[in-house]
Amino acid sequence: METTDAQEIIIKGINASPGICIGKAYLVDREGVDVLRHYHIPEKKLSNEIKRFKTAVKKARDDLDRIVANSPKELKEVHILETHMALLKDKALYGKTIETIKAQRVNAEWALKQVVSDLIDVFRNMQDAYLRERSEDIVHVSNRIIINLVGAEVVDIASIDKRVILVARDLSPADTSQINLDRIKGFITDHGGKASHTGIIARALEIPAVVGLQTATRKIKNDDLIIVDGNSGAVIVHPTEKTLEKYEERNIEYEEYRAVITRESQAAAESADGVRLEVMGNIESPEEVFSVIKYGGDGIGLYRTEFQYFNRPEFPTEDELFDKYKDVVDVMVPKPVTIRTLDINGDKALTNHLSYDEVNPALGLRAIRYCLKKPNVFKNQLRAILRAAAHGNVRILLPMISTCFEIWESKQLLDEVAESLDKEGVTFNRNIEIGAMIEVPSAVIMADALAENVDFFSIGTNDLIQYSLAIDRGNEHVAHLYQPLDPAIIRMLKHTADVAKEKGIKIFICGEMAGTPHHIPLLLGIGMDELSMNPQSIPVVKRVIRSLRVEDTRSFIKEVLKQPTAKSTFELINDTYGSILSEQMYTEGSVQFSDRAER
């Protein structure tokens, strides 16, 4: 209802997910759960009370199980729910509550409440922001149990059928996994920070969200008109006509920018002087392939395959791997999918495998070295790749190549695998492109020899920078020396690209450098054929490419190669292309040179 006396209120919070939305508030009410009864349990009824508690936990577990089973697989919070399931039975919560029921002879709700409030005290006083926010997980888990104990109704977010803005004290991962995008315009919460589940999920769903508002649920009532400004982190309750107008304009402006950039991103990236570049996506799990398509990727430039080896007692089977590869290939066909073979020490990924220690794993047995030492593990993966290759356009990328031997041996194994697949009568395709990842300095120096043996190079800048500059960017004492624009790196890129051109093979880049708009003029000048990056960066990178002339970047690179430091290189980029870059990057503004690492 419109009421004349309603004053406009602005509540400041944390901008967790960008965008603006205007709509009616829908409060997700959990109150009532806070008011718990406290009563004594006679000794002979204690075992009954414990049983009541166990039943409530079991029901909470079953509920979570069902939610996980019904959640769309692409939602990453499923693992958070799995952690919640583990917490339900955690000794510090479950065991301690049962102990408390026995020791104090109190009802289960009261015992649980005490245990939880003690735990939360401990967590809330921690130094680390991540750990402090874990107190939310404890609250979510205990709320689930308590709701079962007191028999209260759980708000079923899945049943909301109006276009509303959710207002809650907090939203649990179980709540958010049920949110139907068509019905929710945005959400705001009293608790949470940028790193909280609510924030992560809002960004994944691409709806505006403001969190950490403290008083939103007290100041906002159902059906109040509110504006959520996820860009600045403000919520406006009962906005005046003037404010509404202002935000509607801002919203249109922002939506237009996003629409333009997303629409454009489906078209090819062709430079102002007509040179076409392939802009590809890096992915880790098959689900991410949909982001690549949505953001207009021309293919998969890097499919990391480590993911399937983590957190499991045994190596994945060939069929499991084949399924994961085929899923991606089927969606992308006829566009290319570049599968990078295992880039870690597989033994270390397995949960139960007892592996030996390495003093310096970055220089140790990993990637191609590990694979060649464990040919059975490697062959398993190669078989899966060759089988998937029969279904579309597959390329194979060998990581951490430092000598020709590694390519020869890998090709030998590919032949062996192809032969046995043939004998078994399994469908496969051996005739696929093979590429070497260029990320070790020796590979740059030996590029001409390596090029004789492969169809393409893909430069992994993240490791190349670390190995070349002898910098561990995880080490805070030296992280500031991790500089993609270091002249040494640029010369290495240029050398590798020149060799590739001379030998007639293709040259790609798939490190973080490729997804940084600021580096694009440089990468074009160097002569990259293909850039691969995280899917979200594709639209803006395509936009930047369209605004550049490749011919100009070629003469620009000559100037770049004369620079003595990363700083002067950065300044040269800014002087030459700063205005174009800031024009293409609506929200980012102008880029500053930082003496710190990129991230």
């Binding site: 952690t83 955690d90 000794k91 967590f123 680390d128 870690i344 949960t351 139960n352 007892l354």
Partner: protein
């Protein structure tokens, strides 16, 4: 003393970026839950039950923390080793 029993403790350093967070703690708890007797993780003077995720988190182990893993029963030696390897391997992150 010579010929002492196999060591029932291991000292390790947390090497992964995030430290002992919920998912890494869950991995430890999973291993520890298979033990015959208790498995403990100690940081400074504070001791946590390795089979409880929450207890482990209360140790607030960030990257670089030194922790001691200990077992009470020699039969759990494999679990001790597996947890130590998990930590030293950075939880495969």
């Amino acid at each position: 003393m010579i010929n002492s029993a196999p060591k029932l403790t291991r000292q390790v350093i947390i090497v992964n970026e995030l430290g002992l967070h919920a998912r890494s703690a869950a991995k430890i708890a999973k291993l520890a839950s298979r033990s015959k007797a208790s498995v403990w993780i100690q940081k400074g003077s504070v001791k946590a039950d390795a089979s409880s995720i929450l207890d482990i988190l209360t140790l607030e182990c960030e990257k670089g923390s030194k922790i001691t893993i200990s077992i009470e029963n020699k039969a759990d030696y494999d679990i001790l080793e597996a947890i130590a390897d998990l930590v030293e391997g950075g939880f495969g992150e």
